[in-house]
């Protein structure tokens, strides 16, 4: 196993996919020539290696970028298109929701759209609310799209490879702030199955469900909690759609308690779905209210103290878990 940064792991996945399958191409704004020069960024060096035919820098046209991927996938290619920052996906929503997600269904199962869309998520680089806005809840509420959101380099590689070779449209959300974080990554065509969550830390007192960058906020909190003798089970969902309900429910059946943590805003966030599933299917075992730790219902402010305030903190997770286990 090589030690790679998160960004290198994504890059490695693209490299593996492109080298083994000519149908794979990447397109987006600056995926070839970028204003950044950093080997830790996902598409670094791919233009040099695969050339202009397969590494396509596009104009600033999010709808066309999505349409490019959809149409090309309909003819059997394996497009991997990038929408630079999460809030820009609003410009591609018609293409992704009314087309990528629906055209196969509309065809009565005759067509397929093996498309991958990469997105950069993340709060904490001071760019404000038009660059930072986690909208995974929208995508998860769109029948026909699969949605994955990795937290480790190995999962970033494995989920992306699974997405590229999945016969359906898959949205791959990348936590930008993790690009430079290193970890062990299996070599070659390493796949992580879409739809399988990962138990990061086993525990008995309380289940904490999270994903993406928030995983590290939770792990930070767990240090303190374990010192306090609270045994937390941490689940990294990895896939939001399809969701690994078995893993979620099995854990809650053992702990009887649930806290959900994400960086997106709370109201109508994906955490609500996790909570609702448990309140509907594991109510009998629940010993305490289901808590959600998430961002307040405001846009991401730019000023450092306010951006920090916006982002769910380990302290907030600690408080929520304590309250849930009755030690609040």
């Amino acid at each position: 196993m090589a030690v790679l940064s998160f960004g290198q792991a994504v890059n490695d996945a693209l490299d593996v996919a492109m080298s083994k399958d000519d149908r794979v191409f990447i397109a987006g704004e600056g995926v070839g020539v970028s204003i950044h020069y950093d080997p830790n960024l996902p598409t670094h060096g791919l233009l040099e290696k695969y050339g202009r035919k397969r590494v396509k820098d596009t104009p600033v046209s999010e709808a066309a970028i999505a349409g490019l991927g959809i149409g090309a996938s309909a003819l059997g290619l394996r497009p991997v298109v990038e929408i630079m920052f999460f809030p820009f996906i609003t410009l591609a929503m018609d293409m992704l929701v009314n087309h990528a997600a629906k055209l196969r269904y509309l065809s009565g199962g005759k067509s397929a759209f093996p498309l991958t869309v990469r997105l950069k998520a993340g709060v904490g680089f001071g760019a404000g609310c038009q660059h930072s806005h986690n909208l995974e809840a929208w995508l998860a509420h769109t029948p026909g799209l699969k949605v994955v959101f990795a937290s480790t380099p190995a999962d970033a590689k494995g989920l992306l490879l699974s997405a590229i070779f999945d016969p359906n449209p898959v949205i791959v959300i990348e936590e930008m702030l993790l690009y430079w974080m290193k970890g062990e990554v299996p070599e070659g065509d390493h796949r992580v199955p879409i739809g399988k969550a990962r138990v990061v830390i086993p525990g008995n007192d309380c289940t904490v469900v999270t994903y993406g960058g928030a995983v590290y906020t939770v792990l930070e909190a767990v240090k303190t909690l374990s010192e306090e003798g609270i045994s937390t089970e941490v689940i990294d969902l990895r896939s939001l759609v399809p969701l690994d309900k078995a893993c979620l429910l099995d854990s809650v059946r053992r702990t009887g308690r649930l806290v959900v943590v994400h960086d997106a805003t709370k109201f109508g966030g994906f955490g609500a779905e996790i909570s609702a599933i448990v309140a509907e299917e594991a109510f009998d075992v629940l010993k305490a209210p289901i808590k959600r730790v998430a961002a307040p219902n405001i846009p991401v402010p730019a000023s450092p103290p306010q951006e920090k305030f916006y982002k769910p903190s380990p302290e907030a997770v600690i408080a929520a878990v304590r309250a849930t286990v009755g030690k609040g």
Binding site: A72, M95, L103, S107, A246
Partner: protein
């Protein structure tokens, strides 16, 4: 620009296809009056048959078309079987899309009518993707996308034309200017004389054609299609035609000047072609009657097939979302 003679056999063939579209839709008009027989709004290409037939006749079977809400002409011209279209319009299990689409977004992959969208302006970006694949795979196939004068106002059309021009993709953009976008006339929703003026802004050719004259449409299409095939990049064709009926059958055209309707009725592409063939002695009344009979029979067969077909089972609605046979239990 438009010059060479179109061969007689071809003219007859195009006439028959136009007549098929016309009779298919006349049948829909009739059926739309029977409660619950057809599903959803009935949006007809009545009066625009020459555009669909003239353009598609210039294509090879492997060429792709992307259609819109006004799709009957495009699909039938590309070779879709009226039986399965009719069944789809009735929402039947035997429909070309198993009833999941209904009339508005029928796609017929078998004949490379690969994607149809009722999102106005949705087609061009999809066509750019299809054409990119054709170029990427090194084929000489092209993609044609049909859209309306109203669609030309959508941002997606701009993004698609810009990208197609930049990458010299084999896309033939066909704007069917039928003088209306819903209840807004062309001059009410656009300040241009012609949509072709947009072509300048993408550095691609923009060609106007009389959309009611199938020979002119075909001749121009032939030239432009080969241009696309030869890697010279995209082209915009604007076919001037007219929406002879309402936006859909539920629209009674209270906002349309009757004189305008009459004027265009005189230009009815199907009737005009028939008359021209008779005057020029390309066909006899007798031959035309045979053709009529054959097409009527096809339509009747389609209606009977569709009418006798069962509706899909309710729970079959859960199929066809994803390529996996079944969507993971955890999800549904």
């Amino acid at each position: 620009m438009v010059s060479q003679q179109v061969d007689v056999g071809l003219i007859k063939a195009m006439y028959e296809e136009m007549l098929l579209v016309r009779k298919f839709e006349e049948k829909l008009i009739e059926l739309s009056k029977e409660q619950g027989k057809l599903v959803g709004m009935q949006i007809l290409a009545y009066g625009q048959e020459a555009v669909a037939v003239g353009i598609v006749k210039a294509l090879e079977p492997d060429d792709v078309i992307v259609s819109n809400h006004r799709s009957h002409g495009h699909l039938l011209a590309k070779g879709a079987d009226p039986k399965y279209l009719m069944a789809e319009i009735m929402g039947k299990a035997t429909g070309v899309n198993k009833g999941k689409s209904g009339t508005l977004h029928m796609a017929v992959p078998e004949v490379n009518a690969l994607m149809t969208t009722t999102i106005v302006g949705g087609g061009p970006p999809l066509a750019v993707g299809a054409a990119f694949a054709q170029q990427y795979q090194g084929t000489s196939n092209i993609t044609v996308v049909f859209f309306g004068d109203g669609a030309a106002a959508e941002g997606s059309v701009h993004e698609a034309m810009n990208l197609a021009a930049l990458w010299k993709l084999p896309v033939l953009f066909v704007c069917e200017n039928n003088c209306w976008a819903g209840a807004q006339s062309f001059s009410e929703h656009c300040c241009l004389m012609d949509i072709t003026q947009r072509a300048v802004g993408y550095g691609m050719p923009g060609e106007l054609v009389d959309g009611n004259d199938v020979e002119k449409v075909f001749t121009l299409a032939k030239q432009m299609v080969s241009r696309c095939r030869n890697g010279q990049g995209p082209v915009l064709i604007e076919a001037k035609t007219y929406r002879m009926r309402g936006h859909g059958e539920h629209d009674h055209q209270h906002y349309v000047d009757k004189k305008e309707l009459e004027a265009w009725a005189r230009l009815d592409p199907v009737r005009c072609l028939k008359e021209r063939m008779l005057t020029d002695g390309l066909v006899t009344e007798a031959e035309l009657q045979v053709t009529d009979g054959q097409i009527d029979a096809k339509i009747d067969e389609a209606v009977q097939f569709a009418s006798e077909s069962p509706y899909p089972l309710p729970e079959e609605a859960l199929q066809d979302l994803w390529v996996e046979d079944a969507v993971p239990q955890g999800y549904l």
